[in-house]
C-alpha cells in the first residue's frame, strides 16, 4: 500500500478539484456539487486502496455509462501525473464496452438540446447551372426539387422555414381539469363539497392531457437521392425547428446511405447552413450506395427502443433503390412498423407521372408501410404536413402482405396522393 506521502503536500482537496477540471476537459459535465460529493465520499473510504479510490471517483463523478472510457483516460492522466504510479494497472477494473455490440447511443443525446461542438466545411452544394429565374410562389410550389435552379431552391428553403406545422397529438396517461371529461375529479369535487356540508353539489371532471407525438425521420442520402436529399434536410430542419417552437423536444433525425448516421444534434443548431455543414461532416457515405435493409437493421437494434417510445411517427425518405437483400429489408420494415405508431414512406419519384414502385426494395418494403407519399416539391411537403396534423389517434390495423404480390402496392390514406393521380407534370 502506498504511503500517505504519495499525495504531494497532502493537497488532496485541490487535487480533487483539479481532477474534476480534467474530466471537464475530457468533455464530461461535472458539477461542483458532484465534486463536493466526491470529496465527502473520500472521507468515508480507505483512499489508499486504489480500486476503492477509483470506484469512489467514478460513482460520484460519472452519471452515464458512455463516459466510463473518458473517465478512465482522465483518471490515469491525472493521478499518475501526480506520482501515483503505484496504482498498479491490473488492480483497476477495465471498463470496456462489450466488444461484439455496437456502442449504444448516448441517451443524453436523445431529444435534448446540445451545444454545437464544431462547425466545418459543408457538403458540396449541388449547383444547377442556370440563370437566375423569377418564380411565382405557386409555380415554385409545384416545381420538382430536382429541376429547381439554385435561386429557386433558396426561395423554396425560405418558404419551408416559414411553415408552421405540427404533428397530431397523442393522449397521455396524465389528466387535466376540464369542464366535461371522462374522469370525475374526486379530489376537487370533495373539497368543494365540504363547503356544503359534504353535499356533492357539483361534480368536477378531468380529461386526458395530450402531447405531440415524437417524430423520427430516416432519410436516404445516397447517390440516387442526392438531388432531393439536400432539400429534404432543409425540410427536416424546418420541421425540427417548428416542433421545438411548440415546446416538443421530439424530433429525431437519421440519414443513411450504406450505413446509418444520427444527425439530431446537427439539426438542433440555429442556422440551416451550420446544421447542414455538420451533417455533411458527420455523414461519411454521402451519395454512396444504398443499403436500406442494413441501415434499418442498425436503427432497430440501436435506436428503436430509445426513440420510438410513446407513439412515434416514422418518416422514411427514400426512392427505394436498394442494393441489399430484399428479405432483410422486408424483415426490418416489419419490425420497424410494429414498433411505431405510423410508418410513412416518402418517395420523391412518386411525383413523376407514370412512375410505378416496382423496384425489388420497394416491393419488399411496401407491405409494411402505412402511407406511401410523394415528396418532390413544396406542395407535396405541405400535403405531408397536413397528413401529419391529421393522423388518427389509434394506430392503423396492419395487414401484412396486403400490398404484396403483383400489384404496385400503393397504400395511402388519401387517394389523391397515389402516384397515378399526382397532378404535376415535369417541367
Amino acid at each position: 500500500m502506498p504511503e500517505p506521502t504519495t499525495f504531494p503536500g497532502g493537497q488532496l482537496l485541490s487535487h480533487v478539484v483539479g481532477f474534476a477540471r480534467e474530466l471537464r476537459r475530457e468533455g464530461m459535465a461535472v458539477t461542483p456539487g458532484q465534486t463536493t460529493l466526491f470529496a465527502q465520499a473520500l472521507a468515508e473510504v480507505p483512499i489508499f486502496d486504489p480500486q476503492i479510490f477509483y470506484h469512489t471517483a467514478r460513482s460520484t463523478l460519472v452519471t452515464r455509462r458512455e463516459d466510463y472510457p473518458k473517465f478512465e483516460r482522465a483518471f490515469w492522466k491525472f493521478w499518475q501525473k501526480l506520482g501515483l504510479e503505484r496504482f498498479p494497472e491490473e488492480l483497476l477494473p477495465p471498463t470496456p464496452l462489450p466488444p461484439n455490440r455496437a456502442p449504444k447511443p448516448r441517451p443524453g443525446e436523445v431529444g435534448r438540446e446540445e451545444k454545437p461542438s464544431s462547425t466545418g466545411q459543408g457538403p458540396p452544394v449541388h449547383v444547377v447551372d442556370r440563370a437566375l429565374t423569377y418564380s411565382e410562389q405557386e409555380v415554385l410550389r409545384q416545381k420538382r426539387f430536382d429541376q429547381m435552379s439554385e435561386a429557386e431552391l433558396e426561395a423554396a428553403r425560405r418558404l419551408l422555414s416559414g411553415l408552421d406545422w405540427r404533428i397530431s397529438p397523442r393522449p397521455t396517461r396524465r389528466r387535466k381539469p376540464a369542464n366535461s371529461g371522462d374522469f370525475p375529479d374526486l379530489r376537487k369535487s370533495f373539497r368543494r363539497a365540504l363547503r356544503h356540508q359534504g353535499e356533492l353539489v357539483h361534480l368536477f371532471w378531468r380529461e386526458r392531457k395530450t402531447k405531440p407525438r415524437p417524430l423520427v425521420l430516416i432519410a436516404d442520402v445516397s447517390g440516387s437521392m442526392e438531388r432531393y436529399s439536400r432539400m429534404l434536410l432543409h425540410f427536416l430542419y424546418a420541421f425540427a425547428q417548428a416542433q421545438t417552437r411548440q415546446g416538443a423536444r421530439t424530433v429525431e433525425a437519421f440519414v443513411f446511405g450504406t450505413r446509418l448516421t444520427r444527425i439530431t444534434r446537427s439539426l438542433k443548431k440555429r442556422s440551416v447552413d451550420a446544421a447542414l455543414a455538420e451533417v455533411g461532416q458527420t455523414v461519411k457515405d454521402w451519395s454512396g450506395g444504398t443499403r436500406i435493409g442494413s441501415s434499418l437493421h442498425q436503427f432497430n437494434r440501436t435506436w428503436a427502443k430509445r426513440v420510438l417510445g410513446r407513439g412515434a411517427v416514422v418518416l422514411l425518405i427514400s426512392d427505394g433503390w436498394d442494393q441489399g437483400e430484399p428479405e432483410l429489408l422486408a424483415f426490418e420494415m416489419e419490425r420497424l412498423q410494429k414498433s411505431c405508431h405510423r410508418l410513412i414512406w416518402l418517395n420523391p419519384l412518386l411525383g413523376i407521372p407514370g412512375y410505378q414502385p416496382l423496384t425489388r426494395g420497394l416491393q419488399a418494403a411496401l407491405p409494411f408501410t402505412d402511407d406511401f407519399l410523394p415528396v418532390h416539391n413544396l406542395a407535396s411537403l405541405e400535403g405531408l404536413a397536413r397528413a401529419l396534423e391529421s393522423l388518427p389517434p389509434r394506430p392503423v390495423t396492419r395487414q401484412p402482405g396486403m400490398a404484396g404480390g403483383s400489384a404496385p402496392g400503393v397504400r395511402s390514406e388519401n387517394p389523391r396522393r397515389t402516384p397515378a393521380e399526382t397532378p404535376e407534370p415535369p417541367r
Binding site: 460513482s59 460520484t60 477494473p93 462489450p98 356540508q197
Partner: protein
Amino acid sequence: MMPSTVEETQKALEAHHYITEKGLAVSVFLALKLGRPLLLEGEPGVGKTEIVKVLADMLQTRLIRLQCYEGLDINNAVYEWDYARQMMQIRLLEASGEHDREKVRQEVFSSEFLLERPLLQALKSVNGKAPVLLIDELDRADEEFEAFLLEFLSDWQITIPEVGTVKAEQPPVVVITSNRTREIHDALKRRCLYFWIDYPDFHKEYRIVRERVPSVPEKLAAQVVAFVQELRKEDLYKAPGVAETLDWAASLLALDAVRLEPTLVEETLGVLLKYQDDVVRAKSAAQDLLARAQVPSPL
C-alpha cells in the same frame, strides 16, 4: 446491519447470495454512508432490482417499491384521500348533530382517511429503521414526475395541504433503476451515485448460478454459463440477462438434464430468448454455439 467498510458491504451482499464486483460494492457503501440515492442502469436482467431486495434484507428493514409508469402522479406515488370514507364520515357526523364546519374538516382530513402511497411510506421509520425505497424503472415515468422526485430526494419531505409537512426522521435508502428507454434528467442524475451494471463475465455468472440454483450440478452450471456467454455475442434483438440464465438453469434441472445437448438446447431456448426472431437465429446457430461454448479450466 449497516456495513462500515467496502469489504464488509461486499461480504454482506454475498452472504445474502448477491455476487457483486468491487465497484458496485463501493457505490452501495457510499450510498448508505452519504445518504445519497443510488442510480443503477444496465440491460434488463442484470440484477438491478435484485440488489435492492438483498439490501433490504441485509439492513433488516422494509422494502418499499414504487413501480414507475407513464402517467404516475402524486395521487399514486405519494398520497390520496379516501373520499368514499370521508363522505361517509361526514354523514355520520351530521347524524350525530355535529355542525361545526371546521371540526368536520379536521375530522375528515385526519390520517385515518389518508391513503399512504410508497413515497410517503418511505419517509416513516419503523423501529428506528429507515426503509429501503426502490424507485423502479424511472425512465417509464414522465418528466413531470421526475421533477417532483427531485424535490423529494433533496428535502426528504412532502407537504400535504390539509395536514402539513411530513419530514423523514431518517432519510430512506433510495435506489433508482432505469432501463434507459429515455434519458433521466441530468439534475436528478447528479443527486445520485451512479453505477452501470454490465453483464457478468464467465466466473462471476458461474458463481451467481451456483449461489442461486445450488442444486444444478457443477458441470451443467458451467456449460450453461459458457453457452449463455457465447449467445450474448450473437446479433440478438434482446440478449439474455442473468435472470434468464438462472431460469434456464432451473428449467434444465427440472428436465433432469446432466449436460447440454443440441436438442435440449433447441427445445429450451425460449427460456433464454424472448423474441421469436432471436430464437430462430439461435436455433440455427445452436450447434456452433455449443461447440464454441468452452468452459474455462480451471473453473
